[in-house]
């Protein structure tokens, strides 16, 4: 009888079609979405959108959101939410501004200090969630208001009444670390490509795109590192296990508490990184920075295939989710549509992704 089932299963080894295999990948929906959105804009948008400069144009906001989205995706796979990351961008921006402008610290100290600050708050968030056993949704919702308020109050204190802190650009002028967090990289390559006539140039011979904005490099690097951690390291296995079933993971010896707290620290640090990049870029920081970004990050993660219940999802999915986001935000300006369609599109996308993910989950678990 046992041999019977073996025979039957042997036959099934060859039976799994490629399409079914593909269906099991959490990022499939997001890749499909990218194709869909690309086709949509190829038809409706001005052809300028898909030139090199157009692509850089929509990848820049994608990158800024994606850094948050990938971290949010990892936290969601671990079974928690962090609604405070948007406010964390403002708060970390304030901390960074004060450290550079008011205290005059060089970036080599200011950036790590900002990160440590953010990580501490992330750890506090995580500890409260674990200690109380309350849903992280509600705990970090409190964080959303507290941090936003702290950013407002803090900025007023340090600037003497303004909610905007200027002078970051002057303060970090000439800092050797600045090129890693602002401006464009590989400028030489682009000049060379322009000279060789391989990319578009202005009439005077300078290339239209003078380099890759550094946030795009951070974004790509983070997607690669996050995917590697999730799929190829024991820690990745622990994250999936923690989100899949906390008690089963605990019983199997997974350090669930450490995993969750580290993930909260990660999302906070990702927010701080976005803060550093955008503050250096703008040369100033204000209390509205990162507004609504927590929801956009979660949408990015969900479009990327993360389940709201945890234990399933991918960093690559969130990567593509962020690209969809950037394409839609910027892409609409290349079309004749009213830009305010953006929100409708976003809501629709989210709904579609959730329904799709639900179907996928049932397929993977064999639920009937």
């Amino acid at each position: 009888m046992v041999t019977d089932t073996q025979g039957a299963q042997d036959e099934r080894i060859r039976d799994e079609p490629f399409a079914t295999k593909l269906m099991k990948r959490p990022e499939l929906g997001a890749i499909g979405g990218v194709i869909l959105v690309t086709v949509f804009f190829l038809i409706t948008a001005d052809s300028a959108m898909f030139t090199l400069s157009g692509i850089m144009n929509f990848l820049t906001p994608s990158a800024q959101l994606g850094l948050l989205g990938i971290a949010a995706a990892m936290l969601m796979i671990g079974g928690e939410f962090d609604l405070s990351i948007g406010s964390m961008v403002a708060f970390a921006g304030m901390v960074f501004g004060v450290l550079t402008v008011n205290l005059g610290l060089p970036l080599i100290f200011a950036i790590p200090l900002t990160m440590v600050f953010a990580a501490l708050i992330g750890a506090v968030n995580g500890s409260i969630v674990l200690k109380t056993g309350l849903p992280s949704f509600i705990v970090t919702l409190a964080g959303l208001f507290i941090l936003r308020g702290a950013a407002l109050v803090g900025l007023k204190i340090f600037t003497g009444g303004s909610t905007q802190l200027r002078g970051v650009r002057d303060a970090i002028e000439g800092d050797w670390l600045a090129p890693f967090f602002s401006g464009e990289a590989f400028g030489g390559v682009f000049t060379w490509l322009a000279d060789a006539g391989m990319i578009d140039t202005f009439n005077n011979g300078t290339p239209k795109v003078t380099g890759i904005p550094v946030e795009i490099l951070w974004f790509v690097a983070m997607a690669i590192v996050a995917t590697y951690i999730l799929l190829r390291t024991p820690v990745g296995n622990w994250i999936f296990a923690t989100g899949g079933d906390t008690s089963a993971a605990t019983n199997s010896g997974v350090p669930v508490r450490k995993v969750k707290i580290s993930l909260f620290m990660l999302t906070a640090c990702a927010a701080a990184l976005v803060a550093v990049i955008t503050v250096i870029d703008a040369g100033s920081t204000d209390a509205r920075r990162g507004f609504m970004k927590e929801f956009e990050a979660i949408i990015t993660a969900v479009i990327g295939g993360c389940l709201l219940t945890g234990g399933y999802g991918s960093a690559i999915g969130a990567f593509f989710g962020a690209i969809i986001f950037g394409m839609v935000t910027i892409g609409l300006t290349y079309t004749n549509f009213d830009q305010d369609w953006f929100q409708i599109f976003l809501g629709g996308m989210l709904l579609l992704a959730v329904v799709f993910n639900n179907v996928i989950r049932k397929r993977v678990t064999g639920e009937r």
């Binding site: 009888m1 046992v2 042997d10 080894i13 099991k24 390291t233 296995n237 296990a241 019983n251 010896g253």
Partner: protein, 273 residues
């Protein structure tokens, strides 16, 4: 004893020393006496069935054995030496593996990832230290094959397996990580006929590898199909241990139900009470 007895192949040697011996275990929760003097042992390569109705104290007893509870009174000897477990981790490290009813399995994760959850094999050093997926897949396929299950692929999600197959993954995992005593908490309670027989034959395979199996059940027929010895637990007390071939299903059933005259019970148990 019917067709089920085919799951039992070869008898365990009776003179082997017990791996774990629990003597006069008592456990009180406040004024509730959950266990009132339970004596139980397992030798390598035997399947010792612990039978009892709901509320008999089975769960409390296995939790004591696997280090979740500390006994109020009584002694535990592990390989002849007195021992007390401070945590489930201690018991696990000593070689006592428990497969609880929830199986500690995550449906959305692959069989391999479940198999090695918390104990992932790694290769490389420092920054390149990573999970050795190929080896993990290989071991999983091999261990499952040993248990008579050919997986479609090691990256198949556990959710797509049947209840019996999941149970087998949990058992194979415990055996692979060096269990000397394997405690199975009602492994057949939620399964159909065919899946039950798969699990019972898995138990027999494990037993033959020299692992001492503690099989908790309230199904007498399942117990008789694989068990070497049978201990009945009733109202927190052991009513005695019977050896394979010396007891009938109906007698075990009556013992589990309780309310029998002790004299009559002693007779049927051959004086082992």
């Amino acid at each position: 004893m019917g067709t089920e007895s085919t799951f039992h192949h070869g008898t365990a040697s009776t003179d082997a020393k017990p791996i774990i011996h629990m003597e006069g275990i008592k456990k009180h929760f406040g004024n509730v006496i959950a266990l009132n003097g339970v004596t139980f042992d397992v030798t390598p390569g035997e399947c010792h069935c612990l039978l009892g109705d709901n509320g008999a104290g089975k769960s409390t007893f296995i939790k004591t054995m696997s280090g979740v509870h500390k006994p109020t009174a009584g002694e535990i000897f592990f390989e002849g030496k007195p021992l007390s477990f401070d945590s489930p981790r201690d018991a696990m490290e000593a070689g006592i593996a428990t497969v609880f009813q929830d199986l500690a399995m995550i449906p959305l994760m692959s069989v391999t990832r479940n198999f090695f959850m918390g104990r992932e094999p790694t290769k490389g050093k420092w920054l390149t230290k990573r999970m050795d997926i190929d080896r993990a897949n290989e071991i999983t396929m091999e261990e499952m094959r040993k248990m008579g299950i050919n997986l479609r692929a090691p990256d198949q999600a556990v959710g797509t397996l049947s209840g019996g197959e999941r149970q087998t993954v949990a058992i194979a995992r415990a055996v692979h990580f060096g269990a000397k005593v394997l405690i199975l908490d009602e492994p057949t309670s939620a399964l159909g006929v065919r899946q039950t027989s798969n699990v019972l034959s898995t138990i027999d395979r494990v037993r033959k590898q020299g692992v001492g199996v503690v099989f908790i059940s309230h199904n007498v027929r399942h117990a008789l199909a694989v068990g070497d010895r049978f201990t009945v637990l009733n109202r927190g007390q052991t009513l005695g241990t019977a050896v394979r071939g010396e007891i009938e299903a109906s007698e075990l059933q009556e013992l589990m139900a309780g309310g029998q005259e002790m004299a009559q019970l002693e007779g049927s148990l051959g004086g082992t009470v």
